[in-house]
Point group: C2
Chain length 309, copies 2
Amino acid sequence: MEEIDKLLEDFKKRDRRALSRLITIIENNFYKIQKKFYLLLDGTQKSYIIGVTGAPGAGKSSLINLLISAFRKEGKSVGVIAVDPTSHRTGGAFLGDRIRMQSHALDKDVFIRSMGSREGKGGLSLSTPLAVRLLDAYGFDIIMVETVGIGQEDIEIFKLSDTGLLVVTPESGDDIQLIKAGNLEEADIIVINKADREGADRLYKEFKRELGNVKNSYGFSPIIVKVSTVKKEGISELIEAIDIHKRFMEDNRVFEKKRRERNLSLFYLLMDYTIRKTLREEGIILKDIESGNIDPFTGVKKAMNVICE
Amino acid sequence: MEEIDKLLEDFKKRDRRALSRLITIIENNFYKIQKKFYLLLDGTQKSYIIGVTGAPGAGKSSLINLLISAFRKEGKSVGVIAVDPTSHRTGGAFLGDRIRMQSHALDKDVFIRSMGSREGKGGLSLSTPLAVRLLDAYGFDIIMVETVGIGQEDIEIFKLSDTGLLVVTPESGDDIQLIKAGNLEEADIIVINKADREGADRLYKEFKRELGNVKNSYGFSPIIVKVSTVKKEGISELIEAIDIHKRFMEDNRVFEKKRRERNLSLFYLLMDYTIRKTLREEGIILKDIESGNIDPFTGVKKAMNVICE
């Protein structure tokens, strides 16, 4: 327990090792710091959060790498959480991507960390927002969260972000399909990466046509930006698009609304975590519910007794 | 309250109006019967549950219509819950589909009911499994649950089912993409509907190739069946495929495992519902968490006090 107190103290002194260690604890043994975690939060939530999602191979990490450089030139500090898709059958160059970003490894105002994505409740869902809050408390101006965009996770990452980027490429012919399926209407900016390749213009036009009249749940029409991370082109346009979106949110009080939703969402995730943990430790009730010895309704009554003991 | 007691009594006498009325209460005012709902469950869970999902226009309702006829010929009673996609931008002939199934309207051993699909927790997630448990308690041999398959809901419906059917058509060129995206690996049977149309054989081969070596989380390789609901062809093959899957589950004790998971899942949904309802009624804590007046961790402590009062 003393070790934890020391960690919290070091964190408040902006010690990077303490930050890194706390993220490891969030990932693996969150219960160890749950009761003291609130001491780390100042409630101000000053960081600007950018979510970056897209299919494997879309070039998310290269893009983040260039965004880091751009933000650093503006004098802003940057924290990055990259959620590893351990639960998906994607394979590929994920670790390589991480290493690529290490060109910023010696910059003390850049912090990059990958986290495992565990399936199910309390895995990705809880640890990612907790890590983001931790980076916020540490004081980064910008926080970027990268995740492989498959289905539902896109939406989670957009909810977690102030500005949500969807990265697509001319090669990924299925992206328009995904948009039609309705999963991606909440992206704030569509980044067409590998814009030097064949088909980029066609894709741009297709997105323009599909999304031209679409407004998301708070009235914003996604901005479409062409980028080439290889040729380092389009990054300033992307930064400008992020600014446009930020101003829209400020002008329409969306910023505030998003923060409120995130507070509530984190609260419910914590409630869920606490309750599941308490019941797992008790053990018997869950077994009886699983086996059908007691019905789920009676289970709720009994569970309430355990939780309220 | 007396009205509820009368309803429960009528339900136990297998009164259809009571069944119908109870589903309406589940949809709109579940809190009214929450405390007495356990009285309806006998814990045996005898019904066989078939989930049917697929894109709009794939012919799910026509298929269910033919399956009802086939099961009725075997002397089995059938209950159907069709989840309406009110939260999606799909549009289309949903109500028309409902009416089409009314060819069984006069059969007292067939019960068909559509339910709204509300977004968010406690909407679709809670009311659908509750309705299924109710149909089970009523004593239907077969329960079918139909839903429009977009993203995450597919998986939900497969978890809720003993056998999960994914309905595709030669026209829907994106289905292979969806499978590649990893969303549909948990389907037990892929039904290629409109098999009389061009491209059905190509689609069949494509699925065979993609899914030939795929086993789902409990070791079953999806069966692919061609059906034409218009020509009423392939239905007996589909019934046989359902039987094969059922036998596989019995032989490998998956049946039992699925039921255990469903019990636990319904319990957690009920816990969540109860907690959210209690906190919404209290009101102040949620507001303070949303606004950031209290951090989510302090919120959990305060919420526990309210719940445990």
